[in-house]
Protein backbone atom coordinates (compact mmCIF):
# COMPACT_ATOMS: atom_id res chain seq x y z
CA UNK A 1 0.00 0.00 0.00
CA UNK A 2 1.46 3.35 -0.97
CA UNK A 3 1.85 6.15 1.61
CA UNK A 4 0.55 9.75 1.27
CA UNK A 5 2.03 11.52 -1.70
CA UNK A 6 4.20 14.54 -0.86
CA UNK A 7 3.24 17.83 -2.43
CA UNK A 8 6.41 19.84 -3.07
CA UNK A 9 4.50 22.96 -4.05
CA UNK A 10 2.56 23.08 -0.78
CA UNK A 11 5.65 22.38 1.31
CA UNK A 12 7.57 25.20 -0.35
CA UNK A 13 4.76 27.62 0.28
CA UNK A 14 4.69 26.55 3.92
CA UNK A 15 8.43 27.08 4.30
CA UNK A 16 8.32 30.59 2.80
CA UNK A 17 5.51 31.79 5.04
CA UNK A 18 6.74 30.25 8.25
CA UNK A 19 8.87 33.27 9.24
CA UNK A 20 8.29 36.97 8.51
CA UNK A 21 10.69 39.85 8.95
CA UNK A 22 9.68 42.49 11.64
CA UNK A 23 10.28 46.24 11.44
CA UNK A 24 13.45 45.98 13.50
CA UNK A 25 14.87 43.53 11.01
CA UNK A 26 14.55 40.36 13.15
CA UNK A 27 12.60 37.29 12.11
CA UNK A 28 9.62 36.25 14.23
CA UNK A 29 7.06 33.55 14.19
CA UNK A 30 3.71 34.68 12.73
CA UNK A 31 0.92 32.40 13.97
CA UNK A 32 -1.74 33.59 11.54
CA UNK A 33 0.53 32.98 8.61
CA UNK A 34 1.55 29.62 10.01
CA UNK A 35 -2.09 28.60 10.41
CA UNK A 36 -2.91 29.62 6.85
CA UNK A 37 0.12 27.78 5.55
CA UNK A 38 -0.76 24.59 7.42
CA UNK A 39 -4.33 24.68 6.11
CA UNK A 40 -3.10 25.20 2.58
CA UNK A 41 -0.62 22.41 2.86
CA UNK A 42 -3.18 20.01 4.30
CA UNK A 43 -5.71 20.82 1.59
CA UNK A 44 -3.14 20.45 -1.14
CA UNK A 45 -1.91 17.13 0.24
CA UNK A 46 -5.43 15.70 0.43
CA UNK A 47 -6.06 16.90 -3.09
CA UNK A 48 -2.88 15.26 -4.36
CA UNK A 49 -3.63 11.99 -2.55
CA UNK A 50 -7.01 11.74 -4.20
CA UNK A 51 -5.78 12.65 -7.65
CA UNK A 52 -2.73 10.36 -7.54
CA UNK A 53 -4.64 7.35 -6.35
CA UNK A 54 -2.66 6.97 -3.14
CA UNK A 55 -4.62 4.92 -0.71
CA UNK A 56 -5.02 4.83 3.00
CA UNK A 57 -4.47 1.57 4.83
CA UNK A 58 -7.64 -0.43 4.85
CA UNK A 59 -9.27 1.66 2.16
CA UNK A 60 -10.66 -0.14 -0.86
CA UNK A 61 -8.09 -0.55 -3.65
CA UNK A 62 -8.58 2.07 -6.29
CA UNK A 63 -7.73 1.96 -9.96
CA UNK A 64 -4.12 2.89 -10.77
CA UNK A 65 -3.54 6.30 -12.36
CA UNK A 66 -2.08 4.84 -15.55
CA UNK A 67 -4.17 3.34 -18.37
CA UNK A 68 -4.54 -0.41 -18.12
CA UNK A 69 -5.97 -3.16 -20.25
CA UNK A 70 -9.16 -4.49 -18.78
CA UNK A 71 -8.48 -7.86 -17.16
CA UNK A 72 -10.10 -10.84 -18.83
CA UNK A 73 -13.24 -12.20 -17.25
CA UNK A 74 -12.70 -14.97 -14.75
CA UNK A 75 -13.88 -17.56 -17.26
CA UNK A 76 -13.80 -17.26 -21.03
CA UNK A 77 -14.58 -20.11 -23.29
CA UNK A 78 -14.20 -20.54 -27.00
CA UNK A 79 -11.74 -19.12 -29.40
CA UNK A 80 -11.49 -15.43 -30.05
CA UNK A 81 -8.79 -14.88 -32.60
CA UNK A 82 -7.71 -16.65 -35.78
CA UNK A 83 -4.11 -16.11 -36.84
CA UNK A 84 -3.66 -16.76 -40.56
CA UNK A 85 -0.16 -17.41 -41.83
CA UNK A 86 0.52 -17.11 -45.55
CA UNK A 87 3.71 -19.15 -45.72
CA UNK A 88 7.00 -18.00 -47.24
CA UNK A 89 7.26 -14.50 -48.77
CA UNK A 90 10.05 -12.02 -49.42
CA UNK A 91 13.13 -13.76 -50.76
CA UNK A 92 11.52 -17.15 -50.16
CA UNK A 93 8.97 -17.84 -52.91
CA UNK A 94 8.21 -21.36 -51.64
CA UNK A 95 7.18 -23.89 -54.27
CA UNK A 96 7.50 -22.69 -57.86
CA UNK A 97 5.58 -24.06 -60.79
CA UNK A 98 5.21 -23.59 -64.48
CA UNK A 99 4.43 -20.13 -65.85
CA UNK A 100 5.97 -18.41 -62.86
CA UNK A 101 3.46 -19.62 -60.27
CA UNK A 102 4.85 -18.83 -56.83
CA UNK A 103 3.50 -20.35 -53.64
CA UNK A 104 4.16 -17.16 -51.65
CA UNK A 105 1.89 -15.09 -53.94
CA UNK A 106 -0.90 -17.63 -54.11
CA UNK A 107 -1.13 -18.21 -50.37
CA UNK A 108 -1.43 -14.48 -49.81
CA UNK A 109 -4.45 -14.35 -52.13
CA UNK A 110 -5.88 -17.39 -50.36
CA UNK A 111 -5.36 -15.72 -46.98
CA UNK A 112 -7.48 -12.72 -47.97
CA UNK A 113 -10.31 -15.05 -49.00
CA UNK A 114 -10.08 -17.09 -45.80
CA UNK A 115 -10.03 -13.88 -43.78
CA UNK A 116 -13.21 -12.66 -45.44
CA UNK A 117 -14.96 -15.99 -44.80
CA UNK A 118 -13.89 -15.99 -41.15
CA UNK A 119 -14.84 -12.39 -40.51
CA UNK A 120 -18.26 -13.11 -41.98
CA UNK A 121 -18.64 -15.67 -39.19
CA UNK A 122 -17.63 -13.14 -36.55
CA UNK A 123 -14.04 -14.22 -35.94
CA UNK A 124 -11.31 -11.68 -35.31
CA UNK A 125 -8.52 -12.36 -37.79
CA UNK A 126 -4.81 -11.48 -37.67
CA UNK A 127 -2.26 -12.14 -40.41
CA UNK A 128 1.43 -12.88 -40.01
CA UNK A 129 2.08 -10.97 -43.22
CA UNK A 130 -0.09 -8.95 -45.54
CA UNK A 131 2.52 -8.18 -48.19
CA UNK A 132 5.67 -9.67 -49.62
CA UNK A 133 7.53 -9.95 -46.31
CA UNK A 134 9.13 -13.07 -44.88
CA UNK A 135 8.81 -13.14 -41.09
CA UNK A 136 10.80 -15.87 -39.36
CA UNK A 137 9.10 -19.01 -38.07
CA UNK A 138 9.40 -17.66 -34.53
CA UNK A 139 7.99 -14.24 -35.47
CA UNK A 140 4.95 -15.92 -36.97
CA UNK A 141 4.46 -18.04 -33.86
CA UNK A 142 4.92 -15.00 -31.65
CA UNK A 143 1.83 -13.37 -33.11
CA UNK A 144 -0.31 -16.38 -32.20
CA UNK A 145 1.35 -16.94 -28.83
CA UNK A 146 0.61 -13.36 -27.78
CA UNK A 147 -3.14 -13.95 -28.15
CA UNK A 148 -5.48 -15.63 -25.73
CA UNK A 149 -7.98 -17.98 -27.24
CA UNK A 150 -6.33 -18.07 -30.67
CA UNK A 151 -6.03 -20.73 -33.34
CA UNK A 152 -3.31 -20.75 -35.97
CA UNK A 153 -3.67 -21.74 -39.62
CA UNK A 154 -0.63 -21.77 -41.90
CA UNK A 155 -1.45 -21.91 -45.62
CA UNK A 156 0.69 -23.71 -48.21
CA UNK A 157 0.64 -24.90 -51.81
CA UNK A 158 2.75 -27.95 -52.57
CA UNK A 159 4.95 -28.91 -55.51
CA UNK A 160 3.51 -32.40 -55.60
CA UNK A 161 0.30 -34.29 -54.99
CA UNK A 162 -2.85 -34.87 -56.96
CA UNK A 163 -3.93 -31.48 -58.34
CA UNK A 164 -7.21 -30.33 -56.89
CA UNK A 165 -6.74 -31.99 -53.51
CA UNK A 166 -6.18 -30.36 -50.13
CA UNK A 167 -4.56 -31.82 -47.03
CA UNK A 168 -4.56 -30.63 -43.44
CA UNK A 169 -1.58 -31.39 -41.19
CA UNK A 170 -1.08 -31.31 -37.45
CA UNK A 171 2.03 -32.25 -35.50
CA UNK A 172 2.45 -35.81 -34.26
CA UNK A 173 2.50 -36.46 -30.51
CA UNK A 174 5.21 -34.53 -28.71
CA UNK A 175 6.08 -36.18 -25.45
CA UNK A 176 8.09 -33.30 -24.11
CA UNK A 177 5.62 -31.07 -22.34
CA UNK A 178 5.97 -28.05 -20.14
CA UNK A 179 9.19 -27.70 -18.25
CA UNK A 180 9.57 -27.12 -14.54
CA UNK A 181 7.20 -24.65 -12.93
CA UNK A 182 4.56 -25.11 -15.59
CA UNK A 183 6.34 -22.75 -17.97
CA UNK A 184 5.77 -23.82 -21.55
CA UNK A 185 8.99 -24.34 -23.47
CA UNK A 186 9.12 -22.25 -26.63
CA UNK A 187 10.61 -25.12 -28.63
CA UNK A 188 7.79 -27.44 -27.55
CA UNK A 189 5.02 -24.84 -27.41
CA UNK A 190 2.69 -27.03 -29.47
CA UNK A 191 3.08 -30.04 -27.16
CA UNK A 192 0.07 -29.13 -25.00
CA UNK A 193 -2.14 -28.41 -27.99
CA UNK A 194 -1.55 -31.46 -30.20
CA UNK A 195 -4.89 -33.04 -29.27
CA UNK A 196 -6.84 -29.86 -29.96
CA UNK A 197 -4.91 -29.28 -33.17
CA UNK A 198 -5.88 -32.71 -34.46
CA UNK A 199 -9.50 -32.12 -33.54
CA UNK A 200 -9.38 -28.78 -35.33
CA UNK A 201 -7.62 -30.41 -38.29
CA UNK A 202 -10.20 -33.18 -38.53
CA UNK A 203 -13.01 -30.61 -38.55
CA UNK A 204 -11.41 -28.67 -41.42
CA UNK A 205 -10.27 -31.76 -43.35
CA UNK A 206 -13.80 -33.18 -43.16
CA UNK A 207 -15.13 -30.05 -44.83
CA UNK A 208 -12.38 -30.10 -47.46
CA UNK A 209 -12.96 -33.79 -48.28
CA UNK A 210 -16.57 -32.98 -49.14
CA UNK A 211 -15.51 -30.30 -51.62
CA UNK A 212 -12.29 -31.66 -53.10
CA UNK A 213 -12.43 -35.24 -54.34
CA UNK A 214 -9.33 -37.27 -53.58
CA UNK A 215 -8.51 -35.32 -50.42
CA UNK A 216 -8.05 -37.39 -47.28
CA UNK A 217 -10.91 -37.59 -44.78
CA UNK A 218 -8.79 -37.05 -41.69
CA UNK A 219 -5.99 -34.78 -40.63
CA UNK A 220 -2.46 -36.00 -41.49
CA UNK A 221 0.51 -35.82 -39.15
CA UNK A 222 3.76 -34.22 -40.24
CA UNK A 223 6.59 -32.47 -38.42
CA UNK A 224 5.84 -29.05 -39.84
CA UNK A 225 8.39 -26.63 -38.40
CA UNK A 226 5.99 -23.69 -38.20
CA UNK A 227 3.56 -25.54 -35.94
CA UNK A 228 6.10 -26.64 -33.32
CA UNK A 229 6.57 -23.26 -31.66
CA UNK A 230 2.91 -22.26 -31.74
CA UNK A 231 1.10 -22.35 -28.39
CA UNK A 232 -2.41 -22.69 -29.80
CA UNK A 233 -4.42 -25.22 -31.77
CA UNK A 234 -2.49 -25.08 -35.03
CA UNK A 235 -2.84 -26.70 -38.44
CA UNK A 236 -1.21 -26.44 -41.84
CA UNK A 237 -3.43 -26.50 -44.92
CA UNK A 238 -1.71 -27.51 -48.17
CA UNK A 239 -3.26 -27.35 -51.63
CA UNK A 240 -1.96 -29.38 -54.58
CA UNK A 241 -0.22 -28.04 -56.47
CA UNK A 242 1.89 -25.42 -58.23
CA UNK A 243 2.45 -28.03 -60.97
CA UNK A 244 -0.90 -27.14 -62.57
CA UNK A 245 -0.59 -25.76 -66.09
CA UNK A 246 -2.84 -22.79 -65.41
CA UNK A 247 -2.95 -20.67 -62.28
CA UNK A 248 -6.71 -20.34 -62.66
CA UNK A 249 -7.04 -24.01 -61.62
CA UNK A 250 -5.74 -23.04 -58.19
CA UNK A 251 -7.70 -19.78 -58.10
CA UNK A 252 -10.91 -21.76 -58.60
CA UNK A 253 -10.12 -23.89 -55.56
CA UNK A 254 -9.56 -20.97 -53.21
CA UNK A 255 -13.15 -19.93 -52.37
CA UNK A 256 -13.99 -23.55 -51.51
CA UNK A 257 -10.91 -23.86 -49.33
CA UNK A 258 -11.75 -20.60 -47.54
CA UNK A 259 -15.33 -21.70 -46.92
CA UNK A 260 -14.21 -25.12 -45.68
CA UNK A 261 -11.77 -23.58 -43.20
CA UNK A 262 -14.45 -21.20 -41.90
CA UNK A 263 -17.00 -24.01 -41.52
CA UNK A 264 -14.45 -26.33 -39.94
CA UNK A 265 -13.48 -23.62 -37.48
CA UNK A 266 -17.14 -22.98 -36.61
CA UNK A 267 -17.56 -26.71 -35.96
CA UNK A 268 -14.43 -26.79 -33.81
CA UNK A 269 -15.31 -23.66 -31.83
CA UNK A 270 -17.36 -25.34 -29.06
CA UNK A 271 -14.54 -27.84 -28.44
CA UNK A 272 -12.04 -25.12 -27.64
CA UNK A 273 -12.58 -24.31 -23.99
CA UNK A 274 -10.05 -21.98 -22.51
CA UNK A 275 -8.89 -22.56 -18.98
CA UNK A 276 -10.07 -19.96 -16.47
CA UNK A 277 -6.59 -19.07 -15.28
CA UNK A 278 -4.35 -17.11 -17.57
CA UNK A 279 -1.27 -19.07 -18.58
CA UNK A 280 -2.75 -22.44 -17.78
CA UNK A 281 -2.61 -25.01 -20.53
CA UNK A 282 -5.69 -26.72 -21.89
Amino acid sequence: MAGAVRNPEAEARFAILLFVRSRDGSFHFERRILCAALCTAAAASVSMMVSSGAQQPGAPIQAPPYPTVAPPPAERTGLNVVVLDPAHGGTDPGARGAQGIRESDLVLDLTFLVRRALEAQGFQVLQTRSGNQNPSFDDRSTLANAQRGAVFVTLHISSTGLPGTVRVYALPEMSSRASAGGVLSWDYAQASYVGLSRKFGDAVQGQLAQRFKGSPRNVQTASVRQLRTTAAPAIAVELSSVSVQDRSDLDKMMPGVADAIARGLAAFRPSYVLPAEAGAQP
Binding site: A87, H88, D92, G94, A95, R96, E103, F137, H156, I157, S158, S159, T160, G161, L162, R167, Y169, L171, P172, E173, M174, S175, S176, D187, Y188, T221, A222, S223, V224, R225, Q226, R228, A236, E238, S240, S241
Partner: protein, 232 residues
Amino acid sequence: MNGRWRTWLLAVLAAVVVIAAIYFPKLKRKVKTSAEISQPSEEQARRELTTATPANPADPKVQVRMFWASDEDESALSPLAVDLALSSDPVLRAKQVLNTLLAGPVNSDLRTLPADAALLAFYLLPDGTGVADFSEALGTSTPSGIQSEQRAVDSIARTLEANVPEIKRLKILIHGQEVDTLAGHLDLTQLFTVNTRAAQPPTLSYGLWPKPPATSAKSPPAATAVAKPPKR
Protein backbone atom coordinates in the same frame (compact mmCIF):
# COMPACT_ATOMS: atom_id res chain seq x y z
CA MET B 1 77.89 -1.10 -77.23
CA ASN B 2 77.81 -0.71 -80.96
CA GLY B 3 74.73 -0.80 -83.14
CA ARG B 4 75.26 -4.40 -84.24
CA TRP B 5 75.22 -5.78 -80.68
CA ARG B 6 72.19 -3.67 -79.83
CA THR B 7 70.29 -5.17 -82.75
CA TRP B 8 71.21 -8.72 -81.66
CA LEU B 9 70.14 -8.02 -78.09
CA LEU B 10 66.79 -6.61 -79.19
CA ALA B 11 66.21 -9.61 -81.45
CA VAL B 12 66.95 -12.06 -78.62
CA LEU B 13 64.61 -10.17 -76.25
CA ALA B 14 61.85 -10.15 -78.88
CA ALA B 15 62.25 -13.90 -79.40
CA VAL B 16 62.01 -14.51 -75.63
CA VAL B 17 58.82 -12.45 -75.43
CA VAL B 18 57.26 -14.37 -78.34
CA ILE B 19 58.18 -17.76 -76.85
CA ALA B 20 56.80 -16.68 -73.43
CA ALA B 21 53.56 -15.48 -75.03
CA ILE B 22 53.08 -18.87 -76.69
CA TYR B 23 54.09 -20.97 -73.69
CA PHE B 24 52.35 -19.02 -70.90
CA PRO B 25 48.72 -20.08 -71.66
CA LYS B 26 49.83 -23.71 -71.92
CA LEU B 27 51.61 -23.43 -68.58
CA LYS B 28 48.53 -21.85 -67.02
CA ARG B 29 46.29 -24.69 -68.23
CA LYS B 30 48.76 -27.26 -66.96
CA VAL B 31 48.88 -25.69 -63.48
CA LYS B 32 45.09 -25.46 -63.32
CA THR B 33 44.61 -29.08 -64.34
CA SER B 34 47.14 -30.37 -61.87
CA ALA B 35 45.54 -28.28 -59.10
CA GLU B 36 42.14 -29.77 -59.87
CA ILE B 37 43.54 -33.27 -59.78
CA SER B 38 45.43 -32.80 -56.56
CA GLN B 39 42.70 -30.86 -54.69
CA PRO B 40 39.23 -32.37 -55.11
CA SER B 41 36.36 -30.47 -53.50
CA GLU B 42 35.58 -31.23 -49.91
CA GLU B 43 32.29 -32.82 -50.86
CA GLN B 44 33.95 -35.01 -53.53
CA ALA B 45 36.51 -36.14 -51.02
CA ARG B 46 33.88 -36.97 -48.44
CA ARG B 47 31.76 -38.73 -50.99
CA GLU B 48 34.70 -40.88 -52.05
CA LEU B 49 35.36 -41.78 -48.46
CA THR B 50 31.80 -42.42 -47.39
CA THR B 51 29.79 -43.67 -50.30
CA ALA B 52 32.29 -46.25 -51.39
CA THR B 53 30.84 -49.06 -49.37
CA PRO B 54 31.31 -51.95 -51.72
CA ALA B 55 29.56 -55.12 -50.83
CA ASN B 56 31.83 -57.77 -49.46
CA PRO B 57 31.53 -60.89 -51.62
CA ALA B 58 31.48 -62.90 -48.42
CA ASP B 59 28.35 -61.09 -47.23
CA PRO B 60 25.22 -63.10 -47.82
CA LYS B 61 22.69 -61.77 -50.31
CA VAL B 62 19.50 -60.92 -48.55
CA GLN B 63 16.23 -59.44 -49.64
CA VAL B 64 15.95 -55.87 -48.38
CA ARG B 65 12.80 -53.77 -48.41
CA MET B 66 13.17 -50.34 -49.96
CA PHE B 67 10.45 -47.78 -49.49
CA TRP B 68 9.89 -45.76 -52.65
CA ALA B 69 6.73 -44.01 -53.81
CA SER B 70 3.75 -46.17 -54.55
CA ASP B 71 2.85 -46.41 -58.23
CA GLU B 72 -0.84 -46.20 -57.28
CA ASP B 73 -0.59 -43.15 -55.02
CA GLU B 74 2.49 -40.98 -55.35
CA SER B 75 1.97 -39.53 -51.88
CA ALA B 76 2.20 -42.99 -50.28
CA LEU B 77 5.16 -45.33 -49.94
CA SER B 78 5.26 -48.98 -50.83
CA PRO B 79 7.99 -51.53 -50.10
CA LEU B 80 9.95 -53.06 -52.94
CA ALA B 81 12.11 -56.16 -52.40
CA VAL B 82 15.69 -55.86 -53.64
CA ASP B 83 18.45 -58.46 -53.35
CA LEU B 84 21.59 -56.98 -51.81
CA ALA B 85 24.74 -58.41 -50.29
CA LEU B 86 24.33 -56.73 -46.92
CA SER B 87 27.02 -56.28 -44.34
CA SER B 88 26.37 -57.48 -40.82
CA ASP B 89 27.78 -54.22 -39.46
CA PRO B 90 24.81 -51.87 -38.85
CA VAL B 91 26.64 -48.74 -40.01
CA LEU B 92 27.78 -50.32 -43.29
CA ARG B 93 24.35 -51.85 -43.68
CA ALA B 94 22.68 -48.45 -43.19
CA LYS B 95 25.00 -46.90 -45.77
CA GLN B 96 24.26 -49.67 -48.26
CA VAL B 97 20.50 -49.39 -47.99
CA LEU B 98 20.53 -45.57 -48.03
CA ASN B 99 22.76 -45.51 -51.11
CA THR B 100 20.37 -47.95 -52.77
CA LEU B 101 17.46 -45.73 -51.77
CA LEU B 102 19.25 -42.71 -53.26
CA ALA B 103 19.98 -44.62 -56.47
CA GLY B 104 16.23 -44.94 -56.88
CA PRO B 105 13.95 -47.58 -58.35
CA VAL B 106 13.87 -48.67 -61.99
CA ASN B 107 10.91 -46.36 -62.54
CA SER B 108 12.50 -43.02 -61.74
CA ASP B 109 9.07 -41.41 -61.26
CA LEU B 110 8.80 -43.33 -58.01
CA ARG B 111 11.98 -42.03 -56.44
CA THR B 112 11.57 -40.24 -53.13
CA LEU B 113 14.97 -38.59 -52.86
CA PRO B 114 16.61 -36.33 -55.45
CA ALA B 115 18.94 -38.04 -57.90
CA ASP B 116 21.80 -35.63 -57.21
CA ALA B 117 21.72 -36.08 -53.44
CA ALA B 118 24.43 -38.18 -51.79
CA LEU B 119 24.97 -39.76 -48.41
CA LEU B 120 28.12 -38.17 -47.02
CA ALA B 121 28.35 -40.05 -43.75
CA PHE B 122 26.41 -42.25 -41.40
CA TYR B 123 27.04 -42.69 -37.71
CA LEU B 124 25.35 -44.89 -35.14
CA LEU B 125 25.46 -43.70 -31.55
CA PRO B 126 25.45 -46.30 -28.78
CA ASP B 127 21.89 -45.34 -27.77
CA GLY B 128 20.57 -46.38 -31.17
CA THR B 129 20.43 -42.90 -32.70
CA GLY B 130 21.46 -43.00 -36.33
CA VAL B 131 22.91 -39.82 -37.82
CA ALA B 132 22.63 -39.55 -41.59
CA ASP B 133 24.60 -36.74 -43.18
CA PHE B 134 23.41 -35.90 -46.70
CA SER B 135 24.78 -33.51 -49.30
CA GLU B 136 23.12 -30.13 -49.79
CA ALA B 137 21.20 -31.42 -52.79
CA LEU B 138 18.83 -33.23 -50.43
CA GLY B 139 17.59 -29.83 -49.28
CA THR B 140 17.85 -27.92 -52.54
CA SER B 141 16.46 -30.59 -54.89
CA THR B 142 13.67 -32.13 -52.82
CA PRO B 143 10.41 -30.62 -54.10
CA SER B 144 9.22 -27.96 -51.66
CA GLY B 145 6.06 -28.93 -49.79
CA ILE B 146 4.91 -30.65 -46.62
CA GLN B 147 3.80 -33.77 -48.48
CA SER B 148 6.96 -34.24 -50.55
CA GLU B 149 9.31 -33.48 -47.68
CA GLN B 150 7.48 -35.80 -45.29
CA ARG B 151 7.55 -38.54 -47.93
CA ALA B 152 11.32 -38.13 -48.34
CA VAL B 153 11.96 -38.46 -44.61
CA ASP B 154 9.45 -41.32 -44.31
CA SER B 155 11.21 -43.26 -47.06
CA ILE B 156 14.55 -42.91 -45.26
CA ALA B 157 13.12 -43.81 -41.85
CA ARG B 158 11.03 -46.75 -43.02
CA THR B 159 13.83 -48.20 -45.12
CA LEU B 160 16.17 -48.06 -42.12
CA GLU B 161 13.47 -49.52 -39.87
CA ALA B 162 12.97 -52.45 -42.22
CA ASN B 163 16.64 -53.28 -42.73
CA VAL B 164 18.70 -52.01 -39.80
CA PRO B 165 16.89 -52.90 -36.57
CA GLU B 166 19.69 -51.44 -34.43
CA ILE B 167 18.60 -47.92 -35.40
CA LYS B 168 15.89 -46.55 -33.13
CA ARG B 169 15.94 -42.86 -33.93
CA LEU B 170 17.23 -40.83 -36.83
CA LYS B 171 18.87 -37.45 -37.05
CA ILE B 172 19.27 -35.93 -40.50
CA LEU B 173 22.10 -33.48 -41.14
CA ILE B 174 22.78 -31.54 -44.31
CA HIS B 175 26.47 -31.27 -45.13
CA GLY B 176 27.39 -31.90 -41.52
CA GLN B 177 25.08 -29.24 -40.12
CA GLU B 178 21.73 -29.24 -38.38
CA VAL B 179 19.27 -27.26 -40.50
CA ASP B 180 15.85 -25.87 -39.64
CA THR B 181 13.90 -27.54 -42.42
CA LEU B 182 14.41 -29.95 -45.28
CA ALA B 183 13.08 -27.71 -48.06
CA GLY B 184 11.16 -25.02 -46.17
CA HIS B 185 8.59 -27.08 -44.29
CA LEU B 186 9.64 -30.25 -42.53
CA ASP B 187 11.40 -29.81 -39.21
CA LEU B 188 14.89 -31.30 -39.27
CA THR B 189 15.85 -30.09 -35.82
CA GLN B 190 14.00 -33.10 -34.43
CA LEU B 191 14.90 -36.75 -34.08
CA PHE B 192 12.65 -39.04 -36.08
CA THR B 193 11.44 -42.32 -34.66
CA VAL B 194 12.68 -45.20 -36.79
CA ASN B 195 11.96 -48.30 -34.76
CA THR B 196 8.85 -47.45 -32.78
CA ARG B 197 9.03 -50.60 -30.67
CA ALA B 198 12.67 -50.20 -29.73
CA ALA B 199 12.81 -46.41 -29.39
CA GLN B 200 13.16 -45.81 -25.67
CA PRO B 201 14.70 -42.78 -24.03
CA PRO B 202 18.47 -43.11 -24.14
CA THR B 203 20.01 -43.44 -20.73
CA LEU B 204 23.51 -42.38 -21.62
CA SER B 205 24.60 -38.80 -21.28
CA TYR B 206 27.24 -38.57 -23.96
CA GLY B 207 24.88 -37.89 -26.79
CA LEU B 208 24.68 -35.08 -29.23
CA TRP B 209 21.00 -34.76 -28.44
CA PRO B 210 20.34 -35.62 -24.87
CA LYS B 211 17.39 -37.59 -23.72
CA PRO B 212 14.62 -37.67 -26.25
CA PRO B 213 11.40 -38.38 -24.43
CA ALA B 214 9.63 -41.69 -24.50
CA THR B 215 7.28 -42.22 -27.38
CA SER B 216 3.63 -42.47 -26.56
CA ALA B 217 1.87 -45.78 -26.21
CA LYS B 218 -0.04 -45.03 -29.38
CA SER B 219 2.78 -45.41 -31.85
CA PRO B 220 3.07 -42.61 -34.38
CA PRO B 221 3.99 -43.34 -37.99
CA ALA B 222 7.58 -44.25 -38.69
CA ALA B 223 9.07 -40.85 -39.32
CA THR B 224 7.46 -38.77 -36.63
CA ALA B 225 9.63 -36.36 -34.76
CA VAL B 226 10.10 -37.42 -31.19
CA ALA B 227 12.15 -34.70 -29.67
CA LYS B 228 14.23 -31.69 -30.33
CA PRO B 229 17.53 -31.43 -28.57
CA PRO B 230 17.56 -28.45 -26.27
CA LYS B 231 19.85 -25.66 -27.37
CA ARG B 232 23.02 -25.58 -25.40
